[in-house]
């Protein structure tokens, strides 16, 4: 990360990337989060980029109507399960616990 940041450091400030030339890449905070989480994980043993990409292809093919970032999130879960990093049961439990939080405590962004 440090290396990559150093490489691009000269793009900050007056020569930063043109914003009118881009579109909103993320429509919701969780989409931004799952992207960052995946790339961060791929810098460790927990996730290998090409393995993730193959699962993303599979998840997109499985349901073309599903929003892109939902397929991405599903693919990340697949990788984490396959590498034994995070099992579905454990994740379901946490997910249910978060859903059960009182109203007003269900947002973090």
């Amino acid at each position: 990360m440090t290396e990559a940041l150093a490489i691009d450091a000269d793009l900050e400030g007056p020569v930063s990337p043109p914003r009118d030339n881009g579109e909103v890449v993320f429509a919701a905070p969780w989409e931004r989060r799952v992207f960052g989480l995946t790339v961060a994980l791929c810098r460790s043993e927990a996730c290998e980029w090409e393995g993730f990409r193959q699962r993303l292809i599979a998840r997109i093919a499985e349901d073309e109507a599903r929003p892109y970032w939902a397929s991405w999130a599903a693919a990340l879960e697949d990788v984490l399960a396959a590498t034994g990093t995070l099992g579905a049961d454990e994740l379901d439990l946490r997910h249910d616990a978060f859903l059960a939080r009182p109203h007003g405590h269900d947002h973090r962004d």
């Binding site: 793009l11 043109p18 969780w30 997109i60 892109y68 990340l76 995070l86 994740l91």
Partner: protein, 200 residues
């Protein structure tokens, strides 16, 4: 609907909270990655590459021969940055890029792909009827221009080298880079005309 809890958001939050607890990922690293891709990696990188290719014939040859290495001369690399292939437009040939399977895209030079690039419509229709899709996106090509559609994958992530706009002989690489849009490097647009460089 709007007041319902977003299941996806909660799910992703659950994933991250468990990974942080297990010490597998650091939340601040996630923040850093996001900030990096939102602010530092973008089409300006690709624009610099294209402008150099327009002004430096030897660099253009290196770019067309082996783009990953040529791009790395600028220090651009990282995820989705292996095996970049540059394809060059000419008066009679127009190149356009799609990823029919998912969203392969040369991040180091273009940043993250726009939402339409990932849509099922673009991914399927650009292959079947490129001329129509390009017209819908505002690019009308002459009937004599041949369209080549490139399907990006892990083996090759394509970058279009657009044609240098006319009447730009007086501009240096820095000024030329301002004419190079993201869309022109995907192939759904052309580089801007010369007067756009003077709009600062």
């Amino acid at each position: 609907m709007s007041h319902e809890v977003d299941e996806n958001a909660v799910r992703v939050e659950a994933v991250e909270s468990l990974l942080v607890e297990k010490g597998i990922v650091d939340a601040s690293l996630v923040d850093e990655v996001i900030e990096h891709y939102e602010t530092s990696v973008g089409p300006l990188n690709g624009a610099k590459v294209v402008a150099r290719a327009w002004t430096d014939p030897a660099y253009r040859e290196r770019l067309l021969a082996e783009a990953t290495g040529a791009v790395a001369e600028f220090g651009f690399g990282g995820p989705e940055g292996q095996l970049i292939v540059a394809v060059e437009n000419a008066p009679e040939v127009h190149n356009v890029v799609v990823c029919t399977l998912c969203s392969c895209y040369p991040w180091p030079v273009l940043g993250l792909p726009p939402s339409w690039y990932k849509s099922p419509e673009y991914r399927s229709r650009m292959v079947a009827q490129p001329r129509t899709v390009l017209e819908e996106m505002g690019l009308e090509l002459g009937a004599d221009v041949r369209i080549r559609v490139w399907d990006s994958s892990a083996e090759a992530r394509y970058l279009v080298l657009p044609e240098r706009p006319p009447d730009t002989g007086h501009l240096d690489a820095e000024a030329l880079a301002k004419l190079v849009t993201r869309d022109s490097m995907i192939g759904v647009g052309l580089a801007l005309s010369a007067d756009a460089a003077e709009d600062d």
